[in-house]
């Protein structure tokens, strides 16, 4: 799922942080980008898996 060739962690963190109300200093952007890169690395095997269309998300809301 991840296009690693075109993914730029610093650019992504800079652009996405305001979407969730985070005001990050340039120094912190670098640190968060490094942490995000770890998420990308460890999350990659899951995101590389192909799922059947009938696979529903696990949590089920019970009204």
């Amino acid at each position: 799922m991840i296009d690693r060739e075109h993914f730029d962690a610093v650019a992504y963190v800079t652009a996405a942080a305001p979407l969730v109300g985070l005001a990050l200093t340039p120094e912190r952007i670098e640190q968060v980008a490094a942490a995000f890169a770890l998420v990308v690395r460890i999350g990659a095997p899951a995101l590389a898996s192909t799922l059947p269309p009938e696979a529903e998300p696990a949590p089920v809301f019970t009204p």
Binding site: L22, A23, V32, V39, G43, A46, A48, L51, A55, P57
Partner: protein, 469 residues
């Protein structure tokens, strides 16, 4: 009462019921011992003397009235500081939570143990918001491993495991999202139970990742672990993910043995990425249970990866208001990870949750053939406090996220796991092994752990440096 700290909880409760000792005498001795020896491990963040002495007096009064004081009468216990304890501030390992008022009522689990006669003596150290496997807490200090004070106790329930291993209490409560009971149980050499997801109520517990959070106990004997697990079972409408099931107590079945149980050792993913001591301990436990085969858990690596993504996103979402308003109040060890988690795309999380459904079906298919799977709990024994990298097979990997590499795929689909200890696995250090069952089959895990305890393969004495004095 001499050497009370070496005794298990059930022996203490029996002594109290028989009036060989009073609950108040045990509470006094426990509080004095914590005062004297906790500085060596830094397991406690708060002692609840007043509550403990009141609880103990109530037990003694109950016995004087010839009433049943409960199965855990007079037994001291403590809870990870994300459990509400009446009168204490629930810290969850943070300084941000210091703004909260003291808890007005107990968490459901704490209330259950107190109702069973147990005496709450305090709250225990943990990784900030349970986001870690080492209990190197920036605000409250690192918890030290009772087997070697220069080493980590594991986390995030490190205080809970260290307090039991050091003989400060015979029982404690922790929580487990990705391994936070199983990792410290392994590194401190004691028993730890992560029940089936949805078995025990989490109400009154600060959540970390709601779709993965479990609670469970630690103990130094299988009988104690069974007793506390039995006491914790009960329906609680306040926990929206608790599954409605009848209580299924296990204390009475510990002598049933393992005849007829189909037991296999997990290999493949679970045989890679760890040090020799982890595999040797797993082999010893597998032989002790006469495991008849080696099997693989398909897609375990992807499952661990998906658990990591869900953890990052859900963990950050719960803390988002504080990440927005006061990021500098978070520990440097968790702040950047939480901030990064707040930016994880929804597509990734939904993919991970769909993968969870697929993996659950694959695991269920495997569990049709096996009653118990045996796997290492951690890739290494306790490492030095502050260590950042672990060398495995000539490759250096980041230590902190990888301590949960064997536990994460299992909790991802909520299977019950009982971690059993193997002592002297690496020098004088212990290491744990996971016994894994199908959902709701905690009973077979207790039967197997009891077999291992009786045969001497698994024992959990107080750590040598804490056994005397």
């Amino acid at each position: 009462m001499n050497d009370w700290h070496l005794q298990d909880a059930l022996s203490l409760a029996a002594a109290v019921r028989e009036r060989a000792v009073s609950a108040t005498e045990i509470a006094d001795a426990a509080l004095a011992r914590i005062e004297a020896r906790d500085p060596d491990v830094n397991a406690f963040t708060e002692m609840t003397e007043r509550l403990a002495l009141a609880d103990a007096a109530a037990v003694d009064a109950s016995i004087a009235r010839r009433e049943n004081p409960g199965p855990l009468a007079g037994v001291p216990f403590a809870a990870k500081n994300l459990y509400d304890i009446t009168g204490a501030i629930t810290l969850a390992g943070s300084v941000i939570e210091l703004r909260r008022p003291p808890a007005a009522v107990d968490a459901f689990a704490v209330a259950r143990l107190r109702a069973a006669g147990a005496v709450c003596v305090g709250a225990l150290n943990m990784d900030e918001y349970a986001y870690g496997f080492t209990t190197e807490n920036t605000h409250y200090g690192s918890t030290h491993n009772p087997h070697d004070p220069g080493r980590i106790a594991g986390g995030s329930s490190g205080g809970s495991a260290a307090a039991v291993a050091a003989g400060l209490v015979p029982l404690s409560l922790g929580s487990d999202t990705n391994g936070s009971i199983r990792v410290p149980a392994s590194l401190c050499g004691i028993y730890g139970l992560k029940p089936t997801y949805g078995r025990l109520s989490r109400s009154g517990v600060v959540l970390f990742v709601p779709s993965l959070d479990h609670i469970g106990p630690f103990a130094r004997s299988v009988g104690d672990l069974a007793a506390v697990y039995d006491a914790l079972q009960g329906e609680d409408p306040a926990d929206p993910v608790q599954v409605h099931r009848s209580r299924e107590p296990v204390s009475a079945i510990l002598d049933e043995g393992i005849d007829g149980l189909r037991i296999a050792r997990l290999v493949g993913y679970f045989a890679r990425g760890g040090l020799d001591c982890a595999q040797q301990a797993t082999g010893a436990v597998a032989r002790g249970l006469t495991a008849s085969a080696e099997v693989e858990l398909p897609d375990a690596a992807a499952a661990r990866s998906a658990a990591f993504l869900i953890t990052a996103a859900e963990g950050a979402q719960l803390r988002l208001p504080d990440l927005q308003a006061r990021p500098d109040n978070f520990s440097p060890l968790s702040r950047d990870r939480l901030l990064a988690g707040a930016l994880v795309p929804a597509q990734w999380v939904l993919h991970a949750q769909r993968l969870r459904s697929v993996f659950r079906a694959r695991v269920a298919a495997l569990m049709q053939d096996w009653d118990i799977l045996v796997a290492p709990a951690t890739p290494a024994a306790a490492t030095p406090i502050g260590q950042e990298m672990l060398e495995v097979g000539g490759e250096k990997i980041p230590l902190r996220p990888n301590l949960g590499v064997y536990t994460q795929p299992i909790s991802f689909v909520g299977l019950p796991v009982l971690t059993v200890p193997v002592q002297n696995a690496e020098g004088g250090l212990p290491i744990g092994v996971q016994l894994i069952a199908a959902p709701w089959r905690e009973d077979v895990l207790f039967r197997a752990a009891a077999v291992l305890e009786r045969s001497g393969v698994c024992v959990a004495p107080v750590a040598p440096a804490f056994a005397t004095g």
